[in-house]
């Protein structure tokens, strides 16, 4: 039981401008369910991509069953017995379960033996309680059943170590419970399960041991039986860094409300309710931070306020003026600027030039177009001025933005949004993926905007960022705001727990 199935030592993985893994150690024993816990951006995905052969580490070693291995593709990893169950399923919707299971298997004969495959699939599904009909077609299955097919695929290829990336994100509570039983059954047979999650409750109930990652490093590995939700939360959020709160030249004036969100509800892309009666206000010059683990409705909230997504009920107003639901044009006209999470494909038109992108929101105004004709010269002059003022590093203003570095992409976006002199700014993960210098520049711009009286709604998973910039912190969980506290002297641990879904009363005890 205590023999290690996988041992990763000193893993370092750098991407341009980011160190995703900075010396991570992870040891997985045979026959255990091992949870990998951490906020988004802590390095969980990078680590699992290294283990499954998708990335190669820059430093560090991977051992499987005591033998050092270098994987150059997922197939290599699979041959070594490591299989991944992805969060986004990779199934062919019109194929049957059995066909999907054998799809991509190497060395098979040209024709598959349907009966034989079906028998093996049935055998595996009986053994682990993965009820699914091998002859059913994928599109007929529920999301939970599709996940079982993903697991069967990996088992069919003889994986001894299974990595599940946030498997419960798509499941109902009942489906989740049956998944946990399956994981337990697999562990009891001597397989190892790596369970990636940021939900504390689940980790506590399903895992044998937990490794916590934070900022690309291993915080530690603990036995689940010897820790508590509270203990894990403080490991996850950390408290070592003593950061300084930004001192504002021009403090917020909360007597004037610039943005008012009144009982807004909205659906996500798949039509499920993802915001439930959200109400919030942002004062003049106030920075309101929205903390929360990704996928708890933050993206939908930003999109609803900026008019990209229609609300199902409730109202949004800037000053005294209502913003029409689902009309980005109305939001722009009311003075709402939006720095979206996906900068290059939502905030910008990637193949368009820097100058076109700088005109993306004001091309309808009289400075840029007259009689519906574009004034090319005005577009170029505007771009030249903004590139200079916001220090965008680009060969020239006709360069497509997709060729710029991440930091400069963000500068183009900020230049456009700030130069429109907004009343409200919605910034979603504005520093994610940037290098240190660019992060600093972006934060300075946000504070400068607030000093000028812009109400800023800062949506971020980086709690440090929120705690150092924001005046007030809201905590979002499953489409609701669970907590609303002043940032000055806020209790990190309490915020961390609330982010994980433990409710406030429980924390107070």
């Amino acid at each position: 039981m205590s023999q290690s199935a996988v041992r990763m030592t000193g893993i370092v993985k750098r991407f341009p401008g980011v160190v995703a893994n900075d010396g991570v150690d992870l040891e997985i024993r045979a026959g255990e369910v091992h949870a990998l816990l951490g906020e988004n951006g802590a390095g969980k995905s990078t680590l699992s991509n290294i283990l499954t052969g998708l990335y190669r580490p820059d430093e560090g070693t991977v051992e499987v069953d005591g033998e050092q291995r270098v994987f150059s593709s997922p197939r290599d990893a699979l041959e070594a017995g490591i299989g991944m169950v992805h969060q986004h399923f990779r199934l062919v919707a019109t194929f049957t379960v059995a066909e999907n299971v054998v799809l991509g298997e190497s060395g098979g004969s040209l024709f598959m033996n349907q009966d034989e495959v079906a028998t093996r699939v049935r055998e595996l599904s009986d053994r682990y309680g993965l009820a699914v009909d091998p002859s059913a077609r994928i599109w007929q299955l529920s999301v939970g059943e599709q996940q079982r097919v993903e697991i069967l695929k990996v088992l069919y290829r003889g994986a001894k170590v299974l990595i599940l990336d946030e498997p419960t994100a798509v499941l109902t509570p009942i489906e989740a419970r049956s998944l946990f039983a399956t994981l337990r059954a697999m562990a009891d047979e001597g397989r190892s399960v790596i369970f990636i999650s940021h939900k504390l409750g689940e980790v506590m109930s399903v895992s044998d041991r937990v490794t916590v990652l934070r900022g690309g490093r291993t915080v530690g590995t603990v036995n689940t039986s010897e820790t508590s939700t509270r203990g894990l939360a403080s490991m996850m959020v950390g408290r070592s860094v003593e950061f300084e709160r930004v001192v504002r030249d021009n403090p917020a004036d909360t007597s004037v409300t610039v943005l008012r969100v009144d009982e807004i509800s909205a659906n996500d892309d798949r039509g499920r309710a993802s915001l439930h009666d959200i109400s919030l206000t942002v004062g003049k010059g106030e920075i309101v931070g929205v903390a929360g683990v990704a996928g708890n409705g933050q993206r939908e909230l930003a999109e609803v306020i900026s008019g990209m997504r229609a609300s199902t009920s409730g109202r949004i107003s800037v000053g005294d003026e209502l913003v029409k639901s689902g009309k980005a044009r109305s939001a722009i006209a009311r003075g709402i600027a939006h720095v979206p999470e996906d900068r290059l494909h939502t905030g910008l038109a990637a193949s368009h030039s820097v100058e076109d992108n700088l005109a993306l929101k004001n091309y309808r105004t009289s400075t840029i177009s007259k009689f519906r004709l574009l004034k090319r010269r005005a577009i170029r002059e505007q771009a030249t001025a903004l590139v200079e003022r916001y220090d965008v590093k680009t060969p020239n203003t006709t360069t497509p933005v997709r060729l710029l570095s991440g930091g400069n992409v963000q500068k183009v976006l900020l230049a456009r949004e700030f130069s429109a002199l907004p009343k409200v700014l919605i910034a979603a993960s504005p520093t994610r993926g940037l290098d240190v210098g660019a992060i600093e520049a972006v934060r300075e711009r946000l504070v400068a905007a607030a000093n000028e009286g812009v109400g800023v709604l800062l949506i971020s998973e980086d709690l440090d960022e929120i705690m150092s910039l924001a005046d007030r912190i809201l905590v979002m969980y499953e489409g609701r705001i669970l907590d609303d506290v002043p940032a000055e002297g806020a209790d990190r641990e309490r915020i961390g727990l609330t982010m994980g879904g433990s409710n406030v009363q429980e924390v107070a005890k």
Binding site: A349, H352, D356, Y363, L373, L374
Partner: protein
């Protein structure tokens, strides 16, 4: 097993590729065609020379090329306009028929109006009919996100059935009652006959002039107007368009309506400038709408280039018709056109991607 050659996306697309690649594609197509000709026991140079003489050289040949080019210019523009927004309108064929039906109606009905007004009204009718027909596809796409390729294609068959019904299976307004044995449409009024100009001895149909004007106007629309800007942003990233407050749904409908109007205009030209009646069978045999897709693809969606490509394909087709005979099989020109399309599409990939050998990559990794 790794293949020795890989495609790698180009970060930057050098400007010279935009004309060099199509030209090289054309040369490659001609070389492939030459091999086919040589295999069938013909002298490729001799054949190409005859095609060039009959299709392009001389006033008479070039006049023929322009005549063939006119419908293709309109259907080419129809496809190019939609391609620019990433919409694939296969329905140029049906929109062409419907435009012809509308224009023939006006042409038959018109009595003694002056020629200029008649031409204008026929054009208008063709455009309105074609644009409404295409707007249906646009509405379905905008409201229900139906695939415009499928709906526009199906509507081609509907339009064909409508044509047959009007001329062969009913006593409609269009059908000529004096010819019960050989069903055909009424001739359009004499005044509805469109002009053809002689320029340096080359016969230039007025419809071809209109198509050139349309090409330039579309170029301007896409390059210089707010609408063109919106279309290009939607084509680049629909999400960014939504984010910037661009009305994507209505733009889809407008672009398809515009696309259909161009095909409908071609249909009007077919009735007014060339056939002088609504030729149900001839229209369906010609397949201008489908060839227009090829034209737009070769022209890389550029409306001005579309006109030139239409002349090129028009000349080829003309040569194919006039050379047809025992020593010149009718499939030859079609084969050549197919080869050109094939190499042009392959060339398109080379504009976006570059070829890399895995050997050089391995060396780069080692370095």
């Amino acid at each position: 097993m790794r293949s020795p050659i890989r495609l790698e996306r180009r970060l930057e697309q050098p400007k010279w590729l935009n004309w060099a690649v199509p030209l090289i594609s054309l040369v490659v197509a001609l070389v492939l065609g030459a091999i086919v000709l040589w295999l069938t026991g013909k002298n490729p140079i001799d054949v190409y020379q005859r095609i060039f003489e009959r299709g392009f050289a001389g006033k008479k040949a070039f006049s023929g090329a322009l005549e063939m080019a006119t419908p293709l210019a309109f259907t080419g523009l129809c496809a190019a306009v939609a391609f620019r927004m990433g919409l694939i309108n296969i329905g140029g064929e049906g929109q062409f028929y419907v435009g012809a039906i509308g224009a023939a109606w006006v042409g038959i009905a018109i009595g003694s109006a002056p020629t200029g007004i008649t031409i204008a009204l026929m054009c208008l009718a063709g455009m309105v009919f074609g644009s409404i027909y295409a707007a249906i596809v646009g509405l379905l796409r905008a409201k229900f996100n139906t695939n415009e390729i499928i709906t526009s294609l199906m509507m081609n068959y509907l339009a064909g059935i409508l044509l047959n019904y009007l001329i062969f299976n009913s006593t409609s307004y269009w059908r000529n009652p004096d010819s019960p044995q050989f069903p055909k449409s009424k001739d359009i009024a004499a005044r509805a006959d469109w002009n053809t100009y002689k320029i340096f001895g080359v016969e230039m149909p007025i419809a071809f002039l209109i198509s050139m004007l349309a090409g330039v106007a579309l170029w301007f629309l896409y390059k210089r107007t707010r609408f063109g800007f919106e279309v290009s942003v939607i084509a680049d990233s629909p999400k960014a368009a939504r984010y910037a407050g661009i009305r994507t749904s209505s733009t889809i409908v407008i672009v398809l309506a515009l696309s259909g109007a161009l095909a409908g205009l071609g249909g009007a030209a077919d009735v007014g400038n060339f056939r002088g009646l609504l030729d149900a069978k001839g229209l369906q045999m010609a397949g201008y709408g489908y060839t227009g897709i090829v034209v737009a693809a070769l022209a890389r969606r550029n409306p001005i280039t579309t006109i030139f490509v239409a002349i090129f394909i028009g000349g080829l087709t003309k040569a194919g018709y006039s050379l047809q005979g025992p020593d010149f099989p009718s499939g030859l020109v079609g084969t050549l056109q197919g080869l050109i399309l094939f190499t042009a599409v392959a060339g398109e990939i080379l504009i976006k991607y570059r070829l890399r050998t895995n050997v050089s990559r391995a060396a780069a990794v080692a370095a």
